[in-house]
Amino acid sequence: MSARVDRSRLPAPGAVKPFAFPAVDKSALPNGLRVWSVRHAAVPVVSLMVLVGRGAADDPPGRDGLAALTADMLDEGSRGRSAIEVHEALARIGGHLETDIGPDGTALTVSTLSRFLGRALDLLADMVARPSLTEGDFARVRQLRLHRLRQLRDVPGAVAERAFARLLYGDDPYGHTPVGSERTVERIESDDVRRFHAAMFEPSSAVLLAVGDCEHDAIVRLAGETFAGWTAAAPAPAPVAAPPAAPARLNVLARPGAPQSELRIGHIGVARNTPDYHALVAANMVLGGQFVSRLNLNLRQDKGYTYGARTRFDFRRRPGPFAVQVGVHTAATAHAVSECLREIREIRGPRPIARDELALAVAALTEGYARNFETAEQIARAATEIALYDLPDDYFAQFPPAVERITADEATSAAARHLHPDRLTTLVVGDVEAIRADLAGLDLGEPVVLSPEAF
């Protein structure tokens, strides 16, 4: 090997090696439960997930937080086992339980050593299909949820998320965060939970996903046994959209003395099935989807206003939000808002996406794609996207070429089509008094003052 290395330029990476994306084996049980599995046997672990296509958007009006509370009740005992006993059984197999809830879906995942697969599957089925949902457990869990909501009053990000959802969506089912609010959770009763569970957690709306050191036929057989008593119900009707809200351009929520302002700037975006999906993913990377994005390099690296800024299109079953999310030093709030608005305006055309910007974004999305498929949990999470949005089986394999085909012009046009500066609403959660004059200088009109109790 030569003694000195050439430091006059960076070595050019070679071509990306072909990578076989994991195949998903699919079956269905007589009761309608889809059973999918992915064999990934490098390490003797398995992740078992039940995913239902029901989530916070299915909360009945005035019962924000019901879906999340129901999901939280599932591990509180079943079949003669108390909540403590369920968790002891889980601990005995070194099992790890995670509950995830979003607007469009809920997932319960048990990860364990593969030799305990059978027991883990039984526990998961107990939780999903036959939870006890007792009055006493409900009272305790609801009380804990109320305590948690009370604590969230002081978490600026949580306050911002809740207020912003309401601003953008009003009474629409997407107008609240899954955790709900103190006002709505106080009114939820155990009967609500039982009804919600019966309506939403039924096999024909659900997928059992097994990823790891497992065999498809064995999973189907075990699932057939343990989910046998789970009877199908007619799928509950889809949530009904509400007419769009018309929020003011500038909204403020006071946190006196806060060292940082939590900002959300955005509007309602697009649904997952938009034909512009790949172009928008690429455009968003350039705007604020990675460290070397326009917004982050501007606000963090160039101006030192923040620890990190990002933008995101939330692609949901129905159009989800587009939003800037950033926490900035209080004194820099107005400048930061102004910069965000400018970046959004400019990427639509005045300063279009350059070829090298796009190349960087595309490379970041595609060259390291294999990294996303190392662990059983990563693969399971990726497969939930296929399940929730009815994506084709070869979705993973098609993603890199689809993104690579996007041109800089196409990415800019997609940004122009789906970013609407005149529809942007800005929310500032912070020391509003201290920056009142600066905010007036933004020329966004009289700010609407929000009170935390309203959410």
């Binding site: 490098a42 003797p44 889980l90 790890h96 804990l144």
Partner: protein
Amino acid sequence: MNIPFVKRALDNGLEVLLHEDHDCPIVAVNIWYHVGSKNERPGHTGFAHLFEHLMFEGSEHYDRDYFHPLQGAGAALNGSTNADRTNYWEVVPTAALELALWMESDRMGYLLPALTPAKFSNQRDVVLNERRQNYENRPYGLASMAMLAALFPPDHPYHWPTIGETADLRVADLDEVQAFFRRYYHPANASLALAGDIDAEEALALVGAYFGEIPPGPPVAPVRAEASRSREARLSLEDRVELPRLYLAWPTPPMFAPGDAELDLAADVLANGRASRLHRRLVYDERIATDVSAAQSSREIGSFLQIAATAAPGRTLAELERAIAEEVARLAESGPTDEEIDRGRVQAEAHFTFRLQTVGGFGGKSDQLNAYNVFLGDPGFFDEDLGRYQRATKRSLQDAVAPLVDPARRVALSVVPQGRLDLAVPDSTPAVVS
């Protein structure tokens, strides 16, 4: 269970660990510098963490931010600093390995020429923002700083937080910071681990080419310090919180020392998950807490075990203190049950096994190899490490917990809503946090 590896040292002292795993066409490049905030001194804190930031801002032969070319090659990358060490890592597609090695070696050997006052000042601002976001603008965010300052005396290197004191950061001088770099960020104070789709011998040759030319720096003397308490410290802190929270912490044996694994297991028995003793008593049965946690924070020259519980509305921190003290004493007196020991063993096995799934990132195989190498000189310690947990007995756990029974050895910190110092446990004095 283990992580097979090859270990070599270059002439300049750089230790190189190589692990082959061809499941995914990716390679994890992970470097540890054996420097953390414990290598700083009072009045000059925050340097190691500041360097973590500066290391991404460009080097002599690539004077632009490091994210561009690496993300452009499909890499994930990050770094972290703690009290004991600093790590940097990338996970790259196989064909970008040379790029990663070029850049890691350039920022090791050629950083200072590119370190300008403007970059320094800018990253200092970013760090001040990070401090605001993660500590000052977060409920209970300052508790950890108050706790460290109380557990470890002012001249103990764990006394100050890794992110540094704001006052120190504001007056930090570029010359001093550069001297810090020269002292600690060089091959003889570093361990480089490559894990993934590599051929060990070929990869080693590449490492030799890129890193071999960098001269070693001065040997780094190990930091030594002791911490113990003779008298309980009872402190209070006002914060923007709705519910008061009690933190109880004790200095405990260092990482890997006898008792360390036992205390990790004891923390699980006490408060990890719904089946744990404190959760059961405080949250489930008596309902005097909304949440409770316990952890053995293992560090190189001394650890601490911390239990934290948030009071349910209307309940007092004094109640929590009494209940927690009772459970700790009960565990010391009668030990864990057989069931708890068995669960601890299976959970340890599961935990170690899950971590084998990933080559890179925080806690991946490359990171683990480096941890064992830097702290113990033995990259192959994985199986032995799991063995520490499997070999714990009722007796050894009791022995580890016994010193926690005497309140003289602990710190009690009450974090209360603004204006409610009356909610702190009795006999508390206000803590001072910058």
